[in-house]
């Protein structure tokens, strides 16, 4: 986030989109007066229930839809500008793929659209397939892929051009928790490498884990925006965490608080999340060599994806070894 001169990669001012019917009568006002600013290196979450205007907003950012009113600048240029698109990666809410193309052919197709030569395409595709864990099934038509595998190939195609700005619409939908976790790790790693990510999701936990700032939409308008800390911190209460306290010590704490006219409202043992339990079981099973028919575990973050891998943190260190994602998986579990 820092060191990028505070560049604004996405700027929307008063953007409105009204869909018209065949007779040009206004039919649906999908987005109304949206102002948005996403800075370089930021992971920005766009939240909202179905039909709140998230996808329409994203399609306007990508130049697929023309705003009825308002202005949009992506990486400082018009969304339809071809030079802008060269630096943008997009994963739609569902992976719309050519069913008859194999995984490798799919990535090759999108690579060609970026004018990558044959060699560059081959290298990048090898790395991406390894990264998303589809190397073993690269020659199967994507029509035969499971939904999760299609999301993985969709994510890989969004990265083939090493984009500066990554727009991800529901990146973890249809994925098992392991895959979802890997994608989250990948997003975090890319953000550490200086990429800007616009994340659109219903999964509030994902957004909370990943995003620096969020905007919540409803009825085509932004109802709230800010950092997660600003929006979520309850200043009216305090949490202290300590090893399990014996009843006597607990009584003493109550006494201290009573002297300040404060009553203890809740005493409980923290619970680990179901996600962390699930991930731990899968990691253990993999360590024991139990087979599965799904996608592979995934590999290191592709080297060609720009930025400095030294900033990768846990994922970056893990990338050095063959057991990349499981190492990061276990490490992240220990942090929970």
């Amino acid at each position: 986030m820092d060191g990028n001169g505070g560049a604004v990669d996405i700027a929307c001012i008063g953007v409105t989109k009204t869909f018209r019917d065949f007779w040009m009568r206004p039919r649906v006002r999908a987005v109304e007066g949206v102002d948005l600013e996403v800075r370089r290196g930021e992971v920005f979450g766009l939240l909202g229930p179905n039909g709140s205007g998230k996808s329409t907003t994203i399609k306007m950012l990508l130049g697929l839809l023309q705003p009825t009113r308002g202005r949009i600048a992506i990486l400082g240029k018009r969304p339809k500008d071809v030079e802008t698109k060269r630096r943008v990666g997009y994963l739609p809410e569902e992976s719309y793929l050519y069913r008859f193309l194999t995984g490798r052919e799919t990535l090759d197709y999108y690579g060609r659209l970026f004018r990558l030569d044959r060699r560059a395409r081959r290298e990048r595709i090898d790395m991406l397939l390894e990264m998303v864990g589809l190397a073993a099934v690269q020659d199967r038509p994507v029509g035969e892929y499971s939904k999760g595998m299609q999301r993985r190939i969709g994510l890989a195609q969004s990265l083939i051009n090493d984009p500066q700005l990554l727009i991800l619409d529901e990146p973890t939908s249809g994925m098992d928790p392991v895959g979802a976790h890997q994608i989250k790790e990948l997003i975090a790693t890319l953000a550490r490498r200086g990429k800007t990510v616009l994340l659109c999701s219903h999964l509030l936990g994902d957004v909370e884990d990943l995003c620096d700032r969020v905007a919540i939409m409803y009825g085509g308008m932004i109802r709230a925006a800010g950092t997660c800390a600003e929006l979520l911190t309850r200043r009216q209460a305090t949490i202290l965490e300590a090893p399990t306290l014996p009843p006597a010590v607990l009584d003493e704490v109550r006494g201290v608080l009573a002297r300040h006219d404060i009553s203890l409202t809740r005493v409980d043992h923290p619970r680990r999340s179901l996600e962390s339990l699930f991930l731990e079981i899968v990691a253990t099973a993999r360590a024991e060599g139990v087979g599965t028919a799904g996608a592979g575990a995934g590999g290191p973050v592709a080297e060609f994806l720009g930025g400095d891998p030294a900033h990768d943190g846990a994922a970056g260190q893990a990338a050095a070894g063959a057991d990349a994602v499981d190492a990061s998986l276990l490490e992240s579990l220990t942090r929970r």
């Binding site: 869909f19 697929l64 739609p92 044959r118 395409r121 360590a287 599965t292 057991d323």
Partner: protein, 564 residues
């Protein structure tokens, strides 16, 4: 830690292995074994047919691999084009098409009647196979073009492509290029099959020596045609002008309404009169531009379709005598000038010696009516020839193969035009409507002449060869006249016909840009004409249509609105 990647299938080395390719080597091997067996069993034609089908299939796969490789370079347009080819292969549609043709073509000679003249069998084979290939490819092109764009829009795959650095015109151009190249491969392979099939068929025994000569001189050839001029052109034109002038004076109102139409009518009457040979009039027809030095053969052909006036007599015979540049033909033998006796209403070809042409390259053909007097009549019946193809001189001026290739080029250009039209339709319509609109363009292009006549009959006007200005004047006059008379229904018919005429005016005529008839009848499709058609249909129309599609797509919101 552990081996994390789970193998679903054994790791494979080939990067391209769409499922459709797997059974092919097996099928080809089986076909080859079958062909070998038939050959040994003394059935060479059946063996050639099956071997030919297998060969076509192999050539098809090789051609497509080459195409995929050629489109593998890194470029937006070729990228989109490559995906169209992959998509088409994945959908198996061209494969089914190939199987249809691969099975149909080589079997065709087997089902042809062996007692029929080989000349006619060959012409039937060429016409049928080329027309079937053109029709099937046209359908493949329309469905592929509409399906590709509409499928992308419906499934929102277009979002993935257009969010990449691809302009919408590049997207459409890529689609067009992919379809046109795929058509090119299909056409080239099927063309090779037809060419080899025709050559194989040409080796079959002929009915008689004349049949063999006809096969060589009228089918496996490319002949230019010369239409006759009036030998006294100046006097002929003066007579027409005088008659027009007479009408201008006698019927000024009728003349003023459509002067060009009057001129056309008088001319066609006089030409018909000249082409009609009565019992006591000898008609001459002058063919010029027949440079003896440039002729590729010693023989030229007089092709004619005479008809006699005696109505009610089927295939009546006509009887006439010929002179070439004033000398009797055939030359007088034993003091007799031999007459020709031919069934009427059929095309006949009479071989003439090239030596009869004079040094200026002119040949004057004189025809005298020698018809017998029918029972109950006092005069022999007239002999007439339809102006145009009813009487012409043909001479060899090119090779069959060259002509065939030019025919394929024109066919390919038609597909290119059709692909662009279908893409333009798909840019603004849903799949079923886009297919229907494209079919409408196809049918209009194929039957343009017929439809124009139908519209004229419907509205009671004569479209003819009028200029645009006179056409507009005529129709405006007609409309006002009908409104004046309160003939509202007739006026409405005039208005609706304008829409139809406007649409028809925009559609090219596939009849004008033919290729199949020329190839099948051994007539030269000149290089200039072939490339002219290719330029108009394969470049000018596609440029305009892709631009139209782009204008439509550029303004289209590529989203299905879910809210209400």
């Amino acid at each position: 830690m552990t081996e994390l990647v789970t193998n679903l299938a054994p790791a494979s080395t080939s990067s391209t292995r769409a499922a459709w390719r797997q059974p092919l080597p097996l099928a080809v091997t089986a076909a080859m074994i079958g062909a070998g067996g038939l050959w040994l069993a003394g059935r060479p034609l059946a063996a050639t047919a099956i071997g030919g089908a297998a060969g076509l299939a192999v050539a098809f796969v090789a051609g497509l691999r080459l195409l995929r490789w050629a489109l593998g370079g890194g470029n937006e347009v070729s990228g989109v084009a490559g995906a169209v080819v992959d998509e088409a292969l994945g959908s198996r549609m061209p494969v089914i098409f190939m199987v249809l043709l691969a099975v149909g073509l080589p079997i065709l000679p087997l089902v042809l009647d062996a007692t029929e003249r080989l000349e006619y069998r060959l012409q039937f084979f060429l016409t049928w196979s080329l027309s079937a290939a053109a029709f099937l490819l046209a359908m493949v092109t329309i469905v592929l073009a509409c399906g590709s764009v509409c499928g992308d829009i419906d499934s929102q795959r277009i979002h993935m492509t257009l969010s990449k650095p691809v302009e919408r015109w590049q997207y459409l151009l890529g689609k067009w290029l992919g379809i046109v190249l795929l058509d090119g491969v299909l056409l080239a392979i099927i063309g090779a099959g037809i060419l080899l099939g025709a050559r194989a068929l040409g080796r079959l025994p002929t009915v008689d020596a004349a049949d063999r000569r006809a096969v060589d001189e009228q089918v496996f050839t490319a002949r230019s045609s010369v239409r006759p001029e009036h030998p006294e052109a100046a006097a002929f034109e003066a007579a027409i002008a005088a008659q027009v002038e007479q009408i201008r004076q006698d019927e000024p109102a009728a003349f003023a309404a459509d002067p060009a139409g009057v001129g056309r009518r008088i001319r066609s009457e006089r030409v018909l009169e000249w082409h009609t040979i009565t019992a006591d009039v000898v008609s001459s027809f002058l063919f010029t531009g027949l440079d003896r030095e440039r002729l590729a053969a010693d023989v030229i052909q007089l092709r004619l379709k005479p008809f006699a006036d005696n109505v009610g007599v089927d295939r009546a015979e006509v009887r006439f005598a010929l002179w070439l540049n004033g000398r009797p033909f055939p030359p007088i033998r034993d003091g007799r000038h031999e007459e020709f006796v031919l069934p009427s209403l059929m095309f006949h070809t009479i071989d003439l010696p090239a030596s009869a042409i004079d040094s200026s390259g002119a040949l004057r053909v004189t025809i005298a009516n020698r018809n017998l007097v029918p029972p109950g009549e006092t005069q022999p019946t007239n002999i007439a020839f339809s102006p145009g193809k009813g009487l012409e001189i043909l001479y060899r001026s090119g090779s069959f193969t060259g002509n065939f290739l030019r025919g394929l080029l024109v066919g390919w250009a038609k597909l290119a035009m059709l692909a662009a039209a279908a893409l333009a339709a798909a840019s603004c319509l849903a799949f079923p409507t886009a297919v229907l609109a494209s079919l409408m363009v196809y049918v209009s292009a194929v039957a343009k002449g017929f439809l124009a006549n139908a519209i004229d009959i419907y509205t009671g006007t004569d479209g003819g060869q009028a200029t645009l200005a006179s056409m507009v004047r005529l129709r405006m006059g007609l409309l006002l006249e009908r409104i004046n008379r309160f003939e509202w229904w007739e006026a409405a018919k005039t208005l609706t016909s304008w829409a139809a005429e406007g649409f028809l005016a925009l559609v090219p005529s596939f009849g004008t840009h033919d290729g199949i008839t020329e190839v099948a009848t051994g007539r030269l499709l000149p290089v200039t004409q072939a490339f002219g058609s290719a330029g108009i249909l394969g470049i000018a129309y596609p440029v305009a249509l892709v631009a139209l599609g782009w204008a439509l797509l550029e303004r289209r919101d590529l989203v299905n609105v879910s809210g209400s």
